[in-house]
Symmetry: C2
Subunit: 136 residues, 2 copies
């Protein structure tokens, strides 16, 4: 019933960012009212930055000018293999109208809320690991 | 190519905990060296508490006696439907040998590291949402 334990191997920065860019969903980790907070969002990696949208009034807007973490993973519960990537960096509100328009073209809302705000994370630390079949 | 935006509906506490217990993987959110941190782990919900294991020396061990967040989700990237549950509560190191033994029986390591430590989160705040097909 249980798979053998997998081996954990570090990913390079380049491979980590490539994997992050290959998936549409991640989770932003921040501090809200002095407590650790997390929200899943749909993102795109654009010119090496992580970009996502949020609605006016979201708790998520408190990430602006904070250092945040962003995580994405793909782990198979059956085989216990897959990967996880964690990026740490400063989040900022995108304010330039041309940038907003360019990002809105590629990051489409998944939820029927008016997603008026665009947030960008500049990756500073990037770590990733892969879980590989222990028998390989 | 893009699905219509989904509707976001709140889940009850009971439904949130049921969904969390139905999946084997989540992500623990904590503060490490003054920065937001996150690690995917495999968990079990035992008597309403979230239980997972970690290895000696893991950054994750700094969660002990911290208030942490724990998140699990299942979101389909194709249909933009699914759910996410976020629990906030205090994490503690399990020290009672009987408890350790009982938890080790049900939380099996997915990684070939000696997972000597068992951590338990007592859920205090529980929130969850579901993404439902906007046409339904």
């Amino acid at each position: 019933m249980h798979s053998d334990p997998s081996r954990m191997c570090e990913l390079t920065t380049e491979d980590s960012l490539r994997r992050l860019a290959s998936v549409p969903i991640g989770r932003i980790v921040f501090t809200h009212e002095a407590l650790p907070a997390i929200r899943p969002v749909n993102h795109r990696v654009v010119d090496g930055d992580i970009v996502f949208r949020c609605h006016e009034g979201a708790a998520l807007l408190t990430v602006v000018e904070q250092v945040v973490a962003y995580e994405a993973d793909q782990i198979d519960a059956g085989t216990h293999t897959g990967w996880s990537v964690i990026v740490t960096g400063k989040a900022s509100l995108v304010e330039d109208p041309d940038d907003i328009s360019r990002y809105e073209q590629v990051v489409r809302p998944w939820v029927d809320l008016p997603m008026a705000r665009v947030i960008r994370i500049l990756p500073e630390f990037v770590t990733g690991f892969e879980l590989i079949d222990g028998d390989r």
